[in-house]
């Protein structure tokens, strides 16, 4: 079964470490996104799996077959790895027509002319670009070029498909369309997709698993909603989700009933009930993560009074910045609401599950509920 295994993969460019000791297993038929800010090593990782870049150390296995091993000196060329690659700029050959672009890979596999013709026509139909078969890439729009690139990559039927920010050159509307298309292709082709993006929304909506990287280091490798609900550290918490999560520094102390009393700068104090016990000493520094949708504004079950600092209604939702004991908190309220700026209003934390991070290591300590709040 097609399964990609990366063991201790490291890539150095001179002194610069692009990817640092990466371990990862990509399951058969998964749709994995490599997510992270620019320069985090995600493209390098993808290129190393595809064989376009040689790792400095480590081992890569595709389908049970070792394609790279620094110890054994194995380096299978990319043409023999049976993988597809979709480039960010499409890399369509400018001197070939759409038809020739798609048939090139099949010619390399020495298919017969009739088989090639049949396959190319099938792909042209599948991607709805039949009428462009005789055109040159320069005569197509970005979205059409994108489709040709996909058709070309799918032609040889690779079991693994790599994509390097394939949607970044498209406009917003086309991007939405192509996302749906990619999900459909993933289902129809039964292939494993590995996808690089810096757009967290794309990663969330498309993938079965997200691999989040920063400065060449793996941060978290989990299903998207798990990453959203239980971010491994403050970096992940901050990177995923829009508007951004509120990360509030605070100091904790034990209470009698097994809760944690969290005191924030500015005087706000919260009673936090962890879902599982964890060790800490009184006065330890934490960071509390508050997702905007869990900060409820103007509800009947409000716990504390705050002030509206700004309100940005967009119809479906309203993004609010609320002032609470010197803190500025991002909040999202669903529905066509608006709040007068400057008004006092009740704020509640009743429904959410919150993450508590260690202030020193930024790692996730535990999840829990907020029972009570008192401001100044």
């Amino acid at each position: 079964m097609p399964e990609i295994v990366l063991k201790h993969i490291t890539k150095r460019f001179g002194k610069f470490v692009a990817v640092d000791d990466l371990n990862m297993v990509i399951d058969d038929r998964a749709f994995v996104t490599l997510l992270g800010p620019s320069g985090c090593g995600k493209t390098t990782t993808l290129r190393m799996i595809a064989g376009l870049e040689t790792p400095t150390e480590g081992e890569i296995t595709i389908n049970g077959k070792v394609v790279y091993s620094s110890v054994e000196g194995i380096d299978v060329p990319s043409s023999k790895r049976d993988v597809g690659f979709l480039f960010q700029n499409y890399a369509l050959w400018p001197h070939m027509t759409v038809y020739k672009n798609i048939s090139f890979g099949l010619e390399n596999l020495k298919w017969s002319k009739t088989d090639i013709d049949e396959k190319v026509k099938e792909l042209l139909r599948m991607l709805k670009i039949e009428e462009f078969a005789g055109r040159y890439p320069a005569e197509l729009s970005g979205g059409q070029q994108q489709r040709v690139a996909i058709a070309r990559t799918l032609a040889t039927g690779p079991k693994v498909l790599f994509m390097d920010e394939p949607l970044s050159n498209l406009d917003a509307k086309l991007r939405m369309e192509m996302r749906t298309e990619l999900k459909r292709l993933h289902r129809e082709t039964d292939s494993t997709f590995v996808y690089v993006t810096h757009d967290q929304l794309e990663a969330m909506t498309l993938s079965t698993k997200v691999c989040l990287m920063k400065n060449g280091l793996l941060q978290q490798y989990d299903p998207p909603l798990e990453v959203y609900r239980r971010p491994a550290n403050t970096f992940v918490a901050d990177f995923v989700g829009s508007p951004n999560i509120n990360l509030v520094p605070c100091a904790g102390s034990h209470t009698d009933d097994g809760c944690v009393d969290l005191r924030c700068e500015g005087g706000l104090s919260l009673r936090f009930k962890p879902s599982s016990a964890f060790d800490f000493s009184d006065g330890a520094n934490f960071i509390l993560g508050l997702r905007p949708e869990h900060i409820e504004i103007g509800r009947a079950d409000a716990m504390v009074e705050g002030q509206i600092l700004s309100s940005l209604p967009s119809g479906m939702e309203t993004i609010v910045i609320a002032g609470l004991s010197g803190l500025h908190l991002n909040s999202v309220m669903f529905g066509d609401l608006d709040f007068p700026v400057g008004s006092k209003i009740g704020i509640g934390f009743g429904s959410g599950i919150f993450n508590l991070f260690d202030a020193a290591t930024t790692g996730n300590l535990c999840q829990g509920k907020i029972l009570a709040v008192s401001g100044v």
């Binding site: 290129r47 595809a50 043409s79 480039f87 050959w93 090139f104 890979g105 320069a138 040889t156």
Partner: protein, 602 residues
């Protein structure tokens, strides 16, 4: 439109500096590039003073078809004066161009696509022959392979091995092709290397992932994509080799192997200027056609812009066991072509009796001697020689003036053309600034000879004056400067200047404080290229110098013609040292290099 609107429109038109610049350039350049074409055309139908005796019953200034008839339709005469040199020119140009592309293309591929060692060194040294004057390699060839039958004393090769070189090897077509091929190889290297370096590596990687072999990638992807650029390289090199003068003059003249340029020099300096003007016209027509063909090749639908600048992570061909031997081999070739010639100049300039390389025959006579009556009519050594110092002074003065004029006009032209891009006026000026590039140097010199030999309106006869050299140099090298000026301006978004305009900053201040500082490097190269080109130029000036305006290169040519080999070698060394030294200095100061970083930083 009423009168007031018109006046206001006119006012706002002339208030913009770029409109004024374009209008002035249009008039001046039309006068300096188009009008001379008319005068040279007329000259091919005119009886010149020296031709009165040949054209029966004519007086000076008469109209005649004599030159055209003699040139194209007079049996053996036409054969000898035109058809033979023409055929030689085409053959030599074609073959040396092919050689240049093969050598340059091979080096470019090796440096950009394999893991060869010493890339930086190879790239830097490989362009040396191109920086040096074109006759450098020709002189070196003679230093090594002269034979006693034609060249007097035998060359170093014969002295060392005892094997006399045959005439075909030492002189004529073969060495001309070899030397020009090597001289223009760096030019091909720069162009092809630039293409390979900028070609989107993803295009090749995409093919590799689709199971294409290296050979198939090369033949089906890489070559077809670079083909238009390759063809364009071929045409550019061809137009250079076709108009080359110095190399055929050094290597061909001793065995009467003539090409159009050497023939043109002979006739314009001799009794038949009419012939020379026709040849100049023919060369201009060929040159213009080649470059128009080039425009057409690069402008077609199939000429792609493959430049993305994202090929830094291309996978290099692993040469494996070949890596070390090939690296060393390339270094040796480079030393032979780029360094050894210089050594030979030094050696030759210290030798008393040519062909004798024993230690006792070494002398400093030709550098610091007072001059001996038995050698070269008591000509003093070049470091004590007044005419050399005059030539050096003239060369430097000329190069500085030419580069200042061409560079500054180039910046202004680039600025104005970029500002009014798309308008008829800008297109016309753009074409005019580029026009001199199409013309072979010697033909360009010839048209100025024709134009300024006599008084034209308020401009006196400039022939023999230093000013004429400055004008011809500045116009000829304007294309280099205006190209870099236009490129610099196109890279700069218009908003940068507009931000200054809105703040009410004057045009002068915008240019000096905003635009020029930002694009410093590009503009400096607009000054640098004319300087270096001018310093080593021979064929452009050779028809126009007079005894008082002689420059180093024409002096060298004269010494060589007289057979004063040691002086010629010494002067050549002087020129090479100045040109290469200046080039290195500017590289250091500005960080801009001629090889455009093809070798990378490795």
């Amino acid at each position: 439109m009423n009168a007031k609107t018109r006046i206001n429109n006119l006012k706002s038109y002339v208030k913009k500096p770029y409109n004024i610049i374009l209008l002035v350039l249009l008039v001046v350049l039309a006068y300096l590039t188009l009008l001379p074409l008319v005068t040279i055309f007329m000259d091919t139908f005119t009886v010149h003073a020296s031709e009165v005796r040949m054209v029966k019953g004519s007086v000076k200034g008469d109209l005649t078809l004599y030159h055209w008839k003699k040139m194209f339709a007079s049996g053996v005469t036409s054969q000898k004066t035109f058809y033979e040199p023409f055929a030689n020119t085409m053959l030599v140009a074609f073959l040396s161009c092919l050689l240049a592309i093969i050598i340059g293309g091979f080096f470019a591929w090796v440096v950009t696509r394999t893991n060869i060692k010493y890339k930086g060194f190879i790239s830097t040294v490989f362009v040396f022959p191109y920086i040096m004057p074109s006759w450098t390699l020709a002189m070196a060839w003679l230093n090594f392979f002269r034979n006693s039958r034609i060249g007097g004393a035998p060359g170093i090769f014969t002295v060392l091995t005892g094997i006399p070189t045959p005439d075909w090897f030492a002189y004529g077509m073969f060495p001309i092709i070899m030397v020009q091929g090597m001289h223009y190889a760096p030019f091909a290297y720069i162009l092809i290397g630039g293409i390979l370096r900028n070609m989107d590596a993803n295009l090749e990687e995409a093919a590799q992932l689709l199971h294409a072999s290296r050979f198939r990638i090369m033949t089906k992807i890489t070559l077809p994509i670079v083909r238009p650029a390759l063809l364009s390289t071929f045409l550019l090199v061809f137009s250079s080799t076709m108009s080359a003068f110095a190399v055929p003059a050094f290597l061909g003249t001793p065995v009467r192997f003539n090409v159009l340029t050497t023939q043109m020099y002979r006739t314009l300096n001799g009794m038949n200027p009419g012939y020379g003007y026709i040849m100049a016209l023919v060369m201009i027509i060929i040159g213009v056609s080649i470059l128009m063909l080039n425009q057409w090749v690069t402008g077609r639908r199939k000429a792609y812009t493959t430049i993305t600048g994202k090929s830094s992570n291309i996978s290099l061909v692993n040469l494996r066991r070949m890596r070390n031997p090939l690296s060393v081999l390339l270094i040796i070739i480079l030393l032979l072509v780029a360094i050894l010639p210089l050594v030979s100049f030094a050696v030759e300039s210290f030798i008393l009796a040519p062909g004798d390389y024993s230690l006792s025959n070494f002398t400093t006579e030709f550098w610091i001697g007072e001059g001996r009556p038995d050698i070269a009519n008591s000509e003093p050594g070049i470091l004590r020689n007044k005419s050399i110092y005059l030539g050096l002074w003239n060369s430097l003065r000329l190069s500085v003036l030419v580069s200042l004029i061409a560079g500054t006009v180039g910046i202004l032209a680039g600025y104005s053309i970029a500002k009014r891009r798309g308008s008829h006026l800008a297109t016309a000026v753009n074409n005019l600034t580029f026009f001199p590039y199409l013309m072979p140097s010697m033909a360009f010199g010839a048209i100025y000879l024709s134009m300024f030999a006599v008084r034209r309106g308020f401009i006196p006869a400039l022939y023999g004056s230093f000013a004429l050299l400055v004008i011809v140099g500045a116009v000829k090298y304007l294309p280099f400067a205006s190209r870099s000026g236009i490129n610099a301006m196109l890279q700069l978004s218009g908003e940068i200047e507009e931000a200054g305009t809105i703040l009410g900053i004057s045009w002068w201040k915008r240019m000096i404080r905003i635009i020029i500082p930002i694009q410093k490097t590009t503009f400096i190269s607009g000054y640098l290229l004319p300087f270096i080109s001018c310093m080593r130029e021979l064929s452009l000036f050779i028809l126009l110098v007079s005894p008082s305006t002689r420059i180093l290169t024409t002096l060298l040519f004269q010494y060589n013609e007289k057979g004063w080999n040691q002086y010629a070698n010494a002067i050549n060394l002087l020129i090479v040292v100045i040109v290469v030294g200046f080039n290195l200095l500017v590289n250091k100061v500005t960080g801009a290099s001629i090889d455009k970083g093809i070798g990378g930083n490795a």
